[in-house]
């Protein structure tokens, strides 16, 4: 009975946190961009504009839902859900802390501990693109179609780099289980960033491409494609696409923290209580979420051929070499 209660509480807390993060990110995106451009950003709804996401949500619900003529209604309707659901599911295996002890119960701080946690996230990450592709195709619009087309090409190219950069970490941990990966990084000097800096750089770049963020946001690409795959979407379906994007960003930021920055590990305080670990995890994840926005308002978008050349001719060989060197070093030191 208590197990079920604990499980339900974990589910509610994690998904609540994820959706809240998405809401905060929608505000933070505008606030940070404003601050970087000597502006204030939204500051009318509530103190400092903190209620802006609520106002946006109400507005989205009130808007009319349009389905373009000649669009495939079935696919057009399920595409936003296909885009948002994978990211929301992927967060389940992220370990956001070590083991908590509350009222005598030992609680592992993640919704589910899968042996193949990383594969699970990668599988769902690969599915996330279906929403974009199908949304783009079903809209019966040239801009949307091109957006979906670009998203599919980009996703295939960068998923390889993403997986290979993760594989280097997996080789070091000897497990696909995210919890084992953070257990191996408890001490500050054991953080994977010190052993796998190249994998970290590759993962971070591929992370931007996987979530369709600047400077790789070819699926949206306002100047050329108006809005890309979501050009024809309105109301809550449009909001769902955005929710999916922000959830995917949050998951990727959390994954980056887990893989390279020790997850909930606190530097120079090995026996920190569990809640300090959770705070450390949140701080590290927030930094990467900030990085997403920071990069967006700093770098211009690449050209599509540059994107492909970068992915196939620079990142992929580097990632392959990194995996081979890591494997060789591990094989040699094991003997």
């Amino acid at each position: 009975m208590t197990e079920i209660v604990i499980w339900v509480v974990k589910v509610v807390v994690v998904w609540g946190a994820l959706l809240t993060t998405a809401a905060i990110m929608s505000l933070a995106e505008r606030k940070v961009s404003a601050w970087m451009q000597y502006r204030y950003g939204p500051n009318r709804v509530g103190p400092f504009g903190v209620l802006q996401p609520v106002a946006d949500g109400i507005k989205f619900i009130m808007k009319e839902e349009l389905v373009p003529a000649g669009a495939n209604r079935l696919l057009f309707r399920i595409a936003p859900a296909l885009s948002a659901a994978p990211a929301m599911l992927a967060v389940a295996v992220i370990p956001f802390g070590y083991t908590a002890v509350i009222a005598g119960h030992e609680i592992t701080l993640s919704v589910a501990d899968l042996d193949i946690g990383i594969l699970y996230i990668l599988a769902l990450g690969g599915l996330g693109v279906y929403g974009v592709i199908l949304g783009g195709w079903a809209s019966n619009s040239k801009y949307s179609l091109l957006g979906g087309l670009r998203a599919s090409a980009q996703m295939i190219s960068y998923e390889l780099t993403l997986m290979l950069s993760i594989m280097a970490v997996v080789l070091m941990a000897g497990s696909l289980d995210l919890r084992q990966i953070i257990e191996g990084q408890r001490a500050f000097l054991d953080w994977n960033i010190f052993y796998q800096p190249l994998a970290f750089v590759l993962f971070t770049i591929a992370m931007f491409a996987e979530t369709n963020r600047h400077p790789f946001d070819f699926a949206e690409c306002e100047p050329e494609l108006v809005g890309g795959f979501h050009t024809e979407y309105s109301s809550m379906r449009f909001a769902l696409f955005f929710l999916g994007e922000y959830c995917a960003m949050t998951v990727m930021a959390a994954l980056n923290t887990t893989l390279f920055w020790g997850g909930p590990s606190v530097p120079f305080w090995p026996d920190a209580p569990w809640y300090v670990g959770v705070v450390a995890f949140i701080v590290k994840t927030s930094f990467f979420l900030f990085l997403f926005i920071w990069v967006r308002w700093t770098l211009p978008r690449l050209r599509f051929d540059q994107l492909m050349r970068l992915g196939w001719q620079a990142l992929l060989p580097l990632a392959l070499a990194n995996v081979m060197v890591t494997g060789a070093v591990i094989a040699l030191t094991a003997n």
Binding site: M36, Q37, Y38, R39, W294, V295, T298
Partner: protein
């Protein structure tokens, strides 16, 4: 003809990452600068005598409109925003407007009416805000257009000064 020699990129530049970090540091420094946005309704726009806002009708010190409903502004208006019906009165100016309407939705704030007016009866005020819930409310009649001369005095002086400059300049353009 100028031949631009494109600079060879150094290795650090071709790696992108150092340059990206440099760019990031620039945006991060801007992050803490003070915002220069004007918070409009609370911080009103700066106004001056040259501010060409919405046209307003001058009410002379004796309480009557300066307008004699000659219709020159109506003819000068490029947007056909002005409608005037006049009638005769016993006062020395002999005529005054019965109806003087400016459709503020059509008005383009060009100031031609001000230039056309022979009686110094219409001037561009410094009033800029224009908002309402219906179109009918935005067709301003005399009651909404009339302003005491003192309220428009700065603009009137400015226009006189400009016109004097024209009059006194001997050279033809």
């Amino acid at each position: 003809m100028v031949i631009l020699q494109r600079k060879e990129l150094t290795l650090a530049e071709r790696l992108y990452l150092p340059e990206i970090l440099r760019g990031l540091s620039i945006t991060f420094r801007k992050f803490f600068k003070k915002a220069i946005t004007r918070q409009y309704p609370e911080e009103p726009l700066p106004k001056d005598e040259v501010t060409r806002g919405q046209p307003r009708l001058v009410v002379k010190d004796d309480g009557h409109l300066a307008c004699v409903s000659c219709g020159l502004c109506e003819a000068a208006c490029p947007a056909y925003a002005i409608t005037i019906d006049g009638h005769e009165v016993d006062r020395p100016i002999e005529r005054e407007p019965e109806r003087f309407e400016i459709d503020m939705l059509r008005c383009i704030l060009c100031g031609f009416c001000e230039e056309a007016c022979p009686k110094d009866a219409i001037f561009m005020s410094d009033e800029l805000e224009l908002a309402d819930l219906t179109r009918a409310e935005l067709v301003y009649g005399i009651d909404k257009l009339k302003r005491p001369r003192s309220a428009l005095q700065k603009r009137i002086d400015y226009v006189y000064r400009i016109n004097d400059r024209w009059r006194n300049s001997s050279s033809t353009p």
